[in-house]
């Protein structure tokens, strides 16, 4: 399992770390996961696919953290879940 190509204009938090365990990642051990509260692509270790409990709780903790961060940016709590639309809705709009 590996990421074989990343677009050059992809917004990435440097260095690339696992959103679940915080370990520094290389492309050959990474898998693309959710977007964070700033619409940046996050990654996780591919090894987490074999430890399903960690995968479940890890992504839940990540989503909780990002939900708080999005609140600080003035977004609604549910915006993180409504990312499919691709746009946040501001509280004051």
């Amino acid at each position: 399992m590996a990421i074989t190509k990343l677009p050059s204009d992809l917004k990435l938090a440097e260095p690339m770390i696992c959103a679940i365990c915080g370990v520094r990642l290389t492309l050959d051990k990474a898998t693309a996961g959710m977007l964070d509260s700033e619409h940046r692509q996050t990654f996780a270790c591919v090894s987490h696919f074999s430890e399903v409990e960690k995968l479940i709780t890890g992504w839940a903790d990540f989503t909780a953290k990002e939900r708080y961060r999005s609140l600080h940016h003035g977004y609604e709590p549910r915006d993180l879940l409504d990312k499919a639309g691709g746009h946040h809705v501001r509280l004051d709009s």
Binding site: M1, A2, I3, T4, K5, L6, P7, D9, L10, T31, A32, G33, M34, L35, Q41, A44, V46, F49, V52, E53, L55, I56, T57, W59, A60, D61, T63, A64, R67, L80, L81, K83, A84, G86
Partner: protein, 157 residues
């Protein structure tokens, strides 16, 4: 294929749909998903089964934790997992929209996934030029995962 994230996964050690369901779990908030399969009607029940198994595991985790934040998040995940619509009807029916579509190469060549699709899983052999056509309407930074699925022998399922 320019501007897309490409990933290659060999889901060999497990029944393929199990790992695919787990990968899908990390993409459920990321827009529509399209799975390219040779036989969508055979593929979908196996994927649904693994999806329901995974959902049971999420429910189990929710029941076993005392962390209030985690309970809330897992609750949201379960709701999302339960409401995720799977379909083998392609192109999407305007009245019965789904979140996850399983379709053949020919169907996708006739009607390529559009911008709301953020993830494509390739579970069968697709020629590069065909994949290029299929992914041509995707948004920048959408994910294309090439999966090599190896079914487990019946005795180990």
């Amino acid at each position: 294929m320019y501007g897309l994230i490409r990933e290659e996964n060999s889901f060999g050690a497990n029944p393929g749909t199990k790992d695919l369901a787990r990968h899908l779990y990390t993409r459920i908030y990321g827009g529509k998903v399209v799975i390219i399969a040779n036989k969508p009607s055979a593929f979908l029940p196996a994927l649904r089964k693994q999806w329901l198994k995974l959902m049971r595991k999420v429910q189990k985790e929710r029941a076993s934790t005392l962390n209030a934040e985690r309970i809330f998040e897992l609750n949201e995940v379960v709701v999302r997992m339960q409401s995720l619509q799977f379909s083998t009807t392609w192109p999407p029916d305007g009245y019965k929209l789904a979140d996850v579509y399983v379709a053949t190469i020919d169907e996708l060549l006739r009607w390529a996934p559009e911008m709301e699709c953020q993830t494509i899983y390739v579970t069968c052999e697709v020629r590069p030029e065909h994949l290029h056509i299929i992914t041509s309407w995707l948004k920048n930074n959408a994910l294309v995962v090439k999966c090599r699925l190896t079914p487990l022998p019946l005795s180990k399922r």
